[in-house]
Subunit: 144 residues, 2 copies
DNA sequence: TTAATTGCAAATGGTTTGCAATATT
DNA sequence: AATATTGCAAACCATTTGCAATTAA
């Protein structure tokens, strides 16, 4: 099942309507899957093809997408929230490297995260459902 | 060396003055060491004994304390930033459990974090200086 | 004495909300 | 047709800033 169909299904399931605006905003995520977009950035992208869409709609839509689990809200301490498309497979585990020099955000690869599962095992007594790990350091580009 | 002396020293080292207000605000951390306080909460505490202190001073002071490394700014997605006294020993590594039901924040114990070091080893190629891990789940109280 | 710091009030900027018009089911 | 959603503008709220008065060094 592709992403848009999944969106359609999950929206219906929660009694939300599939509006033109929601489709357009969701498309931005499909086309910028790798990035962590802020509401303002999404608004700017959407405006180029659909100038009539309001910023408030973007915010409300992001809230709903987050609530139904299609995207994930995150905070990189840069003054705004950022959103990333949820990965169907390992949906609730997030791990990023944030470069303290250029502020670039790098997604860590699966293989690099194996040991996290060990920690989760250890922490089972807390009923952990999700984790969010940020490593702060200097990325390869800035190290040069 | 006690905390206040350390503050005094680090402030001087960075050419900041040790003002009455800074002492008062720092005392709040000594007295509420275990909590993650927001600027507003600190302001409320401080006001009871020193009503003349302004909220802006609290914000500016927290910024400086964070900059000089005496406290650490963190974000629990509850609409404000929160600060915690820096631990001299393992200063740059933070790990919390956030209860998704009661929003309580629990600091994880050292022993529970051993495996994090393994990850850090693995990630050395990124020049990692600091990490910040949040586990989301249900705490013991809420599990009952 | 002099530059940093403070308190206050006003400004800022990301996010939310009220409401009448519009679109989805 | 009934209800949710939209766009707009105004409101909100955490945080920042300008400035004249105060204080630490």
């Amino acid at each position: 099942m592709n992403l848009m169909e999944r969106l359609k299904e999950v929206l219906k399931q929660k009694d939300y309507k599939l509006t033109t605006q929601r489709k357009i905003i969701f498309d931005v995520f499909s086309e910028h899957g790798e990035k962590h977009l802020s509401p303002e950035e999404i608004y700017e992208i959407v405006k180029t093809s659909h100038p009539e869409i309001g910023l408030a709609t973007v915010y409300r839509t992001l809230q709903i997408f987050d609530e139904i689990g299609m995207i994930k809200k995150m905070n990189f301490n840069d003054g705004c929230s950022r959103y990333e498309l949820t990965d169907e497979n390992e949906s609730e585990h997030h791990s990023h490297l944030i470069c303290t020099q250029c502020s670039k955000v790098i997604e860590l690869e699966d293989e690099e995260l194996e040991s996290i599962n060990e920690i989760l095992e250890k922490e089972k007594k807390y009923n952990i459902k999700e984790y969010n790990i940020k490593f702060f350091g200097v990325c390869k580009d800035c190290t040069k």
